[in-house]
C-alpha cells in the first residue's frame, strides 16, 4: 500500500465566464520514504496539486488516500485533525510566527494535536539540533537568517512525526548555496526518519536531487520518472 494514492484528481475553477481546469485527472502513487518533486511551468497545476494533497481544499472529482484512508468524505474538522496528524508543511515564505521563538514555532503544531504533545518539547529541541539550530532555539524569527528560518519551518513540519511533508517552493527564497544546504537537511531527515517528502519546485537543479520527478502541464501528469532520467526542460 502506497503512502499516498491519488486517482483521477480533478480541480476545476469558475473564473469569469469560463472554467479553468487547474488539475485534470491526475493519478499517481507515492510510497513511504520517497522524496518526490513536482515540477512544471507556472499555471501547470502543481500548487493546486499540493493544496489538494495537503487537504487545504476539496477536489472537484477524484480521490486521495493517505495511509490507505480515503479523504473525500471527511468533514472539515476531521480533515483539520488529519492535517495535524499526517502532514507537515513547508512554505516558500517560511510562515513563522513572529512573536514566537524558534522552539515555540516548532512546537506550534502540538498545540492542535493533543496526541503528540507528550514529549513534544524534547522532540522539538532534538529537531532543532538536527537542522543545526540547537543554539538558536530561543531566538525570534527576526533574529534568524532566511536559511535558518526555513530550517525552523522544516523542524516544525516534522514535530508531529507526519507521514508526508509537503513543501511549496521550500527553497524559492534562498540563494543556491542555502537552497542546496536546506535540501541536504531535508534529504538527511528523509533518509533517517523515512518520512515521505513531496516538494513543488521550479528549480530543476533542486528537482534533480530528489528521487523522482513528476512533471505537470495543463493540469495533467506529462512525465513521472526517477530524477536521474529527466533531462532539463
Amino acid at each position: 500500500m502506497a503512502t499516498l494514492e491519488i486517482r483521477d484528481l480533478t480541480k476545476h475553477y469558475r473564473q469569469g465566464g469560463h472554467v479553468v481546469r487547474a488539475l485534470d485527472g491526475v493519478s499517481l502513487d507515492i510510497d513511504g520514504g520517497e522524496f518526490v518533486s513536482i515540477v512544471g511551468r507556472s499555471g501547470s497545476g502543481k500548487t493546486t496539486f499540493l493544496d489538494l494533497v495537503g487537504l487545504l481544499m476539496r477536489p472537484t472529482a477524484g480521490s486521495i488516500r493517505i495511509d490507505g484512508q480515503e479523504m473525500g468524505a471527511l468533514s472539515d474538522g476531521r480533515l483539520a485533525t488529519l492535517r495535524g496528524a499526517k502532514l507537515g508543511f513547508i512554505f516558500q515564505e517560511y510562515n513563522l510566527m513572529p512573536t514566537l521563538s524558534a522552539l515555540e514555532n516548532v512546537m506550534l503544531p502540538l498545540r492542535y494535536n493533543k496526541a503528540r504533545r507528550e514529549g513534544g518539547r524534547k522532540r522539538a529541541l532534538r529537531l532543532l539540533e538536527e537542522v543545526g539550530l540547537g543554539d538558536r532555539a530561543h531566538h525570534r524569527p527576526a533574529e534568524l537568517s532566511g536559511g535558518q528560518q526555513q530550517r525552523v519551518a522544516v523542524a516544525r513540519a516534522l514535530v508531529n512525526e507526519p507521514s508526508i511533508v509537503l513543501g511549496d517552493e521550500p527553497t524559492g527564497n534562498l540563494d543556491s548555496q542555502l537552497a542546496s544546504e536546506l535540501l541536504g537537511v531535508m534529504r538527511r531527515l528523509n533518509g533517517e526518519r523515512g518520512v515521505t517528502f513531496v516538494i513543488v519546485t521550479h528549480d530543476l537543479e533542486i528537482a534533480g536531487s530528489t528521487d523522482r520527478i513528476i512533471r505537470l502541464s495543463d493540469g495533467r501528469v506529462v512525465s513521472d520518472e526517477p530524477a536521474g532520467e529527466v533531462s532539463a526542460a
Partner: protein, 396 residues
C-alpha cells in the same frame, strides 16, 4: 504569553483600545459605587420601615406632634404587639451649610424594648445600650461619633450649637454610654436618647410663642407600632386609622415602595454607565481585533494548515479580546476604586460619603469587562475562522 506578545506588536493600538475599556469600566465603577452607597442607605430604610408602622398627627393638624396618650389607644388595637412614642429632632438645628446626599443628623428617641421588634438590627460596638428611663445619656451612631470624635465616657452637648446661634440658644450635656456599629444607613446619623430627654429637647426647640406654655412631657413627634407575628402590617395600619382618632398611620408598603423606587433610579444610573462602557469599549475591541485578524491572515492560514480547527482559531481570537477586556477592567476598576476612595477620604466628617465599593461591585465591573472583551471578540473570531486556508496562506 503569546496573547501579550500579540498585544505588544501594536502597542499604541493596544493602549488606545484598553483605554476605551478603562474609561467605560471607570464610569461603571464610580457610578456603581455611588449606586451601592445609596442602595445601602435605601435598603436600610426598607428593612427599618417594613417592620414598623409609622404613626403621626392626622392630616391637617398643626405641627408634627401627637399626644403620648395615643400610645395606649394604639396598643389596644387588635394585632398590635407594642407601640412606642418617639421624638425626632435635628441634631444640628439651623445647619444649612452643605448639600447633604445622606440622612441628616438627628436626635431620636430610643426605647431598648423596641429593639426586639426591629428587623434592622443595630449593634453596640463600644459601651452599652440606654437603660430604660435613662436620663442624660446618649448612644451615638457611627457617623455622629466620627464627626464629633466622641468615645464612650465623653460628653456631647445636644443639640449641637450652630456657629451663628443666638445668645438664648439652649442645649444640654449628655454622657456618651454607647457607640453603634456602622450600618451604612440612617442610624449612622443618629444620637439616641431616652424619651424624657427627647421631650425636654422638644420643649427647647419650640417657637418662642409656645415656649414655656406647652407641656412636652405628653407629646411625641411620632409613634411607632409593631404588628404581632402573622398580622398584615398594611391592614393593621388601616385598622389603627379606623379605630384611633387624631392620628394617621402610614401603610409600611407605601414607605417601602418609596425607597425601592429610589433604588431603581440608582440601578438605572449604573445600567446607563454599563451601556456606555459597552458602546465605547466594545466597539474599540471589535475594531482592534478585526484589524489584528486582517494583519494576521497568513498566520491564521498557517495554523489551519498545521491542524487548527475552527474552534481553535475562534478560541485564540476570543481569548485575546478577553484578555484586553480583563486588562482594561483591572485598570479601570483600580482607577475607579482609587478615585472614589480618595473622594470618600477627603469628604468632611460632617458630610455623608458618596461612594461605597463592595465585593459585588468589583465582581460586576471585572466580570463586565471580561464579558465585554469576550463578546466583542466573537465577530472577529468568526471572521478569522471563516478564512479559506489556501487564500490566507498566500495573502500579501
Amino acid at each position: 504569553m503569546e496573547i501579550f506578545r500579540n498585544m505588544a506588536r501594536r502597542k499604541l493600538r493596544s493602549v488606545l483600545t484598553i483605554s476605551g475599556i478603562v474609561i467605560g469600566i471607570l464610569a461603571l465603577t464610580t457610578m456603581g459605587a455611588m449606586a451601592s452607597n445609596f442602595n445601602a442607605l435605601l435598603d436600610g430604610g426598607v428593612k427599618y420601615y417594613s417592620s414598623s408602622i409609622q404613626i403621626g398627627p392626622d392630616n391637617g393638624a398643626l405641627g408634627s406632634v401627637v399626644s403620648t396618650d395615643k400610645v395606649a389607644e394604639i396598643k389596644r388595637v387588635d394585632g398590635v404587639a407594642d407601640a412606642f412614642a418617639g421624638v425626632n429632632l435635628s441634631l444640628k438645628p439651623g445647619d444649612i451649610s452643605v448639600v447633604n446626599f445622606g440622612v441628616p443628623d438627628m436626635i431620636v428617641t430610643h426605647d431598648p424594648a423596641a429593639g426586639k421588634y426591629a428587623t434592622l438590627k443595630m449593634t453596640i460596638v463600644q459601651g452599652r445600650d440606654l437603660d430604660p428611663g435613662s436620663r442624660g445619656e446618649v448612644v451615638l451612631g457611627y457617623g455622629v461619633a466620627k464627626e464629633f470624635g466622641k468615645k464612650v465616657g465623653e460628653t456631647i452637648d445636644l443639640p449641637v450649637k450652630p456657629k451663628d446661634a443666638k445668645p438664648d440658644f439652649v442645649n444640654h450635656t449628655f454622657r456618651v454610654v454607647g457607640l453603634l456599629d456602622k450600618t451604612l444607613t440612617a442610624p449612622d446619623s443618629f444620637a439616641e436618647v431616652g424619651l424624657a430627654d427627647a421631650q425636654m429637647l422638644l420643649a427647647d426647640s419650640l417657637p418662642e410663642a409656645l415656649r414655656g406654655k406647652v407641656d412636652t412631657s405628653t407629646l411625641a413627634t411620632g409613634i411607632e407600632a409593631y404588628a404581632l407575628p402573622g398580622v398584615n402590617a398594611d391592614q393593621l395600619a388601616d385598622r389603627i386609622n379606623a379605630e384611633v382618632s387624631g392620628v394617621k398611620a402610614i401603610r409600611p408598603s407605601v414607605v417601602v415602595n418609596g425607597f425601592k423606587s429610589g433604588g431603581a433610579i440608582f440601578t438605572a444610573i449604573t445600567t446607563g454607565a454599563a451601556l456606555l462602557a459597552l458602546v465605547i469599549g466594545g466597539l474599540a475591541v471589535i475594531n482592534t481585533m478585526l484589524m489584528a485578524v486582517t494583519e494576521r491572515v497568513r498566520e491564521i492560514g498557517l495554523k489551519k494548515a498545521i491542524g487548527a480547527h475552527t474552534r481553535n482559531i475562534m478560541f485564540e481570537v476570543v481569548s485575546e479580546s478577553t484578555v484586553i477586556g480583563l486588562v482594561g477592567g483591572l485598570i479601570g476598576f483600580g482607577l475607579g476604586a482609587g478615585i472614589v476612595s480618595l473622594v470618600n477620604a477627603t469628604t468632611p466628617p460632617s458630610q455623608t460619603t458618596l461612594f461605597l465599593i463592595t465585593p459585588g461591585l468589583a465582581i460586576l465591573s471585572l466580570g463586565f469587562a471580561v464579558a465585554l472583551g469576550a463578546l466583542a471578540g466573537i465577530i472577529p473570531a468568526f471572521h478569522a475562522a471563516r478564512l479559506d486556508p489556501v487564500t490566507a496562506l498566500r495573502a500579501q
